[in-house]
Amino acid sequence: MNLLLLAAAWGVLMMFLSVSGISRATIRTIAQVGMGLLFLSTVAELQGIVFYDLNAPAMLGVDRYALVMLSVLSGCGLLYFLLSAKDMADVGSDYSEYFALIFFIFCGFVLVLSFTSLLMLFLGIEIVTIPLYILTGADKRNLKSNEASLKYFLLGAFSTGIMLMGIALVYGARGSFSTLELVGASGIPTQLLLGGLFLIFFSLAFKVSVAPFHFWTPDVYDGAPTVFTSFMATLVKVAAFAGFLRLFDHGFGSLKSSWQIWAGILAVLTLIIGNMTAVYQQSVKRMLAYSSIAQAGFMMLGVYGLGDAAKEGMILYGASYSLATIGMFAVLTRMQDQTVEGFNGLAKQQPWISALLAVFLLSLAGIPLTAGFLAKFYMLQAALPATYGMAVVIVAVIMAAVSVYYYFRVLQAIYFREPSEGVSFPAFAPGFVRILTVIALLIILLGLQPGWLLRYLYF
């Protein structure tokens, strides 16, 4: 629980800093230090050093899965801050508040990953999403940003309502919010319980943008300031998935005969819709938005497959997907022309940045020797033993092949096209390039030695 306290405290601190009048550079440094502390405190807790423990087992309880996931999230969060904190200044004037909101979102992550009560899950989800509504609309003068924010809020409220209804039905069936007592001793669910289960399932599917509850995603991701899209599409989605898996593996796992098949169907649907639509996008930002849906389809395989393999896969997938996407978005924010053509001929002028982008794209496409490949492999392995697992895996593999098309289009533009007339590439700061290099190295390291991360799951 180290992270919960620190994140809450730092969020409050950042809020107060907004009225202190100190320079943006200082604010940024304080935020980065804060995120670094978040990361260190989680790693420390993984090693058994706990300096804040909320003794409320009926509400929250951390396990190793939650801790490893939180380390991945805060670690990626640190890299995200180091890469993109500067870009937040371009969004609007409330620089310090943006950081405050992100720290609050991290509080929500802790709840989503360690809930033992459905109420805590609900709270966690809301603590994560409400700041996101604000961040989406942070570019106040931009109509698209406003529209995205409103859309997200309306549809989010809709799904929140569904989740509350589901929790109410479960409570009605079981007389308790505890996830440890979701299923009775008989193991035979009542219709009421199943109804609640499915409503919660839909609502979580909405949060992680799984088809057919994904429609908000492209519009919101496209409309939100790119720097926040990067955060939403990666860390928030991964955290929501981790909570999704936690609830349905531990809480509803024994009822999987009724819902597992739907997880498989939605995974397949998501993979198809996400990949097919991404094929046609000209804007790299929209392409990444759709590809994030496609990647969600892969992560959904974890919810479908369950078990330790799914947990390992989810952690690896979360790490590899977040790292690569954060890196892609960070470069994308700096590009003048954010279409595929905008990348034409980048390799001739910026060979090192191009090589790093190539690593990110290869990992997203799931090419061997990158973490993305192993992550997909773990997910497929988790899904294979499930009912109809083979069919689902075949679709997933075909769709992974389709995804190669649109990721490689960017790669092709970078390496095999001549630069367009009048387009110049931005100069990348050395510090920025260093962080990107670290990210690329992490992707390759995880692609070669996933045990380096996954061994923390077991002691």
């Binding site: 409103l150 859309k151 309306l154 549809l155 809709f158 799904s159 569904i162 219709q191 199943l194 109804g195 499915f198 839909f202 909405f206 088809a211 057919p212 509850f213 429609f215 908000w216 492209p218 519009d219 009724s258 739907w262 198809i272 819709i273 097919m276 639509t277 094929v279 046609y280 389709v402 098309y405």
Partner: protein, 637 residues
């Protein structure tokens, strides 16, 4: 010195030609003609010496297995790189190295006009050829045999196409290679079949595969029939039987000593060897044996009729080889494996003699091969004349020349199999005597019909060529004496006894001495008549031989090549053209483009749903929820 004693010394037999190949092949630009010839022939002489040693040491009982190293090991399956020394392989070793050596010596003079680097290439190929053949007969399992088998095919390709600047020769080489490959495919399938059923390819495991006393067979009768049939198809390629024989007559595009090597000592005998080696399997597959006998006798007859009307000296010999190989397959099909091996041996002697003799003639005639333009060569080429005559008599099968004994054994086995086979085989033997003596009389008899210039240049070949001829002529006379039938001499058939560890002596086919005498007398008498007929017809050359449609049919080799061209090659070309112009752009490409197009189409449709209307999004979500809940609660049980 354990290495240099039996059996380890046998490793040297294939290694020596390999060494010769490497030295001559790599240093062909540095070495002189003399050195190349010395190395090429020297390794053969040494290999022959060691083969002799091995031959006299081979134990009468179980074969000696020499395992060099573990070659292939996949799970349960073990295929060692091993050699098997027994009566059959040691006999073949003698034939291959002995005749191979003589051909090498002969070649050193015959090919002397080639430039040193080509001369080196020639001897390198020749050594490699012998090496492959040695691997083939020494291999202790089908896989090693197959490696040699492929090597032989490759070397024949290289040597037939030795004069690669002539496109027709290259084409002949291609033909030989392709025909062989067709057969090889069947052989390969047979090997995999055997592995799948028995898990072993070693010859020593064959008795286990077909089941011995107290052990159930690993192969069903269907397996045995299938495997033996496929092996036989492989043999038809290598040993030039119907339907894969047409490459052999074309294979004389190579230098004449190469033809001698292919036709006598190596290559074409591989199929006979393989079937004799697999005799346990074949004995268990009577149906396939009958097929072999029919194919054999049909090939013998067909090739003999074609040989009647060929005017190229080497072509006549080539078709006679096909015909004689048919005889051998007839023997195999009749279950007389020893007779087949016997005929391989005697045939190796007289066919090598005849080819080398024809080479001597061609050499003297400054490259002329048409027998209509020869004649009267007796005076200028006395040694060639006499040795060639011995070869002709031997192949015709006159007592006591070698051909008589082996052919007699085959005719006897055919008679026991079915009188029909006997009659056809006997008729073929008469044709053989006729066309061989037609060749002989046209070449050596009468008066010279070539140009003045050729006449001027007529000369006997050098000693390096005539000595092998003489040696082979002696062998053609006495070579048959190891298999004198029981009826003529008690204990005369030493070959049967010698091969008995490999090829069990079959009993039961008893035939009365009177019948046997009668059969021998009949064939000898008719053959003599046939020779007399040929002498009468060709002692004086007449310009045009009788021209009727049947003769034309024979001259054109029954139009088999044309038939293959029309029935197989042309349709394949057409199919290829169709695939390229219709199938590939429309179907194959269409399917792949179609996938791309449908992805794009779906992509567009999905994009339309994403229209930016929040209300629509909520509606879609509700539709999704309703559908899932209805299916879950009303349809699923």
């Amino acid at each position: 010195m354990a290495m240099l004693s039996f059996p380890n010394i046998a490793y040297l037999i294939p290694l020596l030609p390999l060494l010769g190949f490497l030295v001559n092949g790599l240093l062909r630009n540095q070495l002189s003609h003399r050195a190349i010839a010395l190395i090429g022939s020297g390794v053969m002489a040494l290999a022959f010496g060691i083969s002799l040693l091995v031959f006299y040491h081979v134990p009468a009982g179980a074969p000696t297995i020499l395992t060099a190293f573990d070659f292939i090991r996949i799970g349960e399956l073990q295929i060692p790189f091993a050699f098997q020394l027994d009566a059959l392989s040691s006999l073949f070793l003698l034939i291959i190295t002995g005749i191979g050596f003589l051909i090498h010596v002969y070649s050193s003079a015959y090919m002397h006009e080639e430039s040193a680097s080509h001369y080196g290439r020639y001897f390198a190929y020749l050594n490699l050829f012998v090496f492959s053949m040695l691997l083939l007969v020494m291999g202790a399992n089908y896989v090693i045999l197959f490696i040699g088998w492929e090597g032989v095919g490759l070397c024949s390709y290289l040597l037939i196409g030795y004069w690669f600047r002539n496109p027709a020769y290259s084409q002949a080489a291609n033909k030989a290679f392709v025909m062989n490959r067709i057969g090889d495919l069947a052989f390969l399938i047979a090997i995999f079949w055997l592995i799948a059923r028995t898990g072993s390819v070693s010859f020593t495991d064959l008795p286990m595969a077909i089941g011995t006393v107290g052990q159930s067979a690993k192969l069903s009768s269907l397996d045995i029939t299938g495997i033996t049939l496929l092996l036989f198809i492989g043999a038809t390629g290598k040993s030039a039987q119907i339907p894969l024989y047409t490459w052999l007559p074309d294979a004389m595009a190579g230098p004449t000593p190469v033809s001698a090597l292919i036709h006598a000592a190596t290559m074409v005998t591989a199929g006979i060897y393989m079937i004799a080696r697999s005799n346990l399997l074949y004995t268990a597959a009577p149906l396939v044996l009958s097929i072999i006998a029919i194919i054999g006798v049909a090939t013998a007859l067909l090739a003999a009729t074609i040989a009647l009307r060929q005017n190229d000296i080497k072509k006549v010999l080539a078709y006679s080889t096909v015909s004689q190989l048919g005889f051998m397959f007839l023997a195999l099909g009749s279950g007389a494996y020893v007779a087949a091996v016997f005929h391989v041996m005697t045939h190796a002697f007289f066919k090598a003699l005849l080819f080398l003799g024809s080479g001597s003639v061609i050499h003297a005639m400054s490259g002329e091969q048409d027998i209509r333009k020869m004649g009267g060569l007796k005076k200028s080429l006395p040694i060639t004349y006499w040795t060639f005559l011995i070869g002709c008599v031997a192949i015709a099968g006159i007592f006591p020349f070698s051909g008589f004994f082996s052919k007699d054994a085959i005719l006897l086995s055919a008679f026991l199999k079915s009188p029909i086979f006997y009659v056809i085989a006997l008729f073929t033997a008469l044709l053989t005597a006729f066309y061989m003596f037609r060749l002989f009389f046209l070449t050596f008899g009468g008066s010279f019909r070539g140009t003045e210039e050729q006449h001027h240049h007529l000369h006997e070949s050098p000693a390096a060529m005539t000595i092998p001829l003489v040696v082979l002529a002696i062998l053609s006379i006495v070579g048959g004496w190891v298999g004198i039938p029981e009826v003529l001499m008690h204990g005369g058939d030493r070959l049967v006894a010698f091969l008995s560890p490999v090829i069990p002596v079959s009993s039961g086919h008893e035939i009365s001495h009177a019948t046997e005498y009668m059969l021998m007398g009949l064939s000898t008498g008719l053959v003599l008549l046939s020779i007399l007929f040929a002498w009468n017809k060709y002692k004086q050359y007449r310009a045009e031989e009788s021209d009727n449609s049947f003769a034309r049919l024979l001259e054109n080799k029954w139009y088999v090549d044309e038939l293959y061209q029309a029935a197989i090659v042309q349709p394949l070309h057409k199919l290829g053209g169709w695939i390229r112009s219709v199938f590939e752009p429309k179907v194959a490409d269409g399917a792949i483009q179609g996938i791309g197009r449908s992805v794009r189409y779906l992509s567009q449709q999905f994009r339309l749903i994403q229209n930016g209307q929040t209300g629509n999004y909520a509606l879609w979500m509700v539709i999704g929820i309703v559908v899932i809940l209805s299916v879950q609660f009303f349809l699923r049980k």
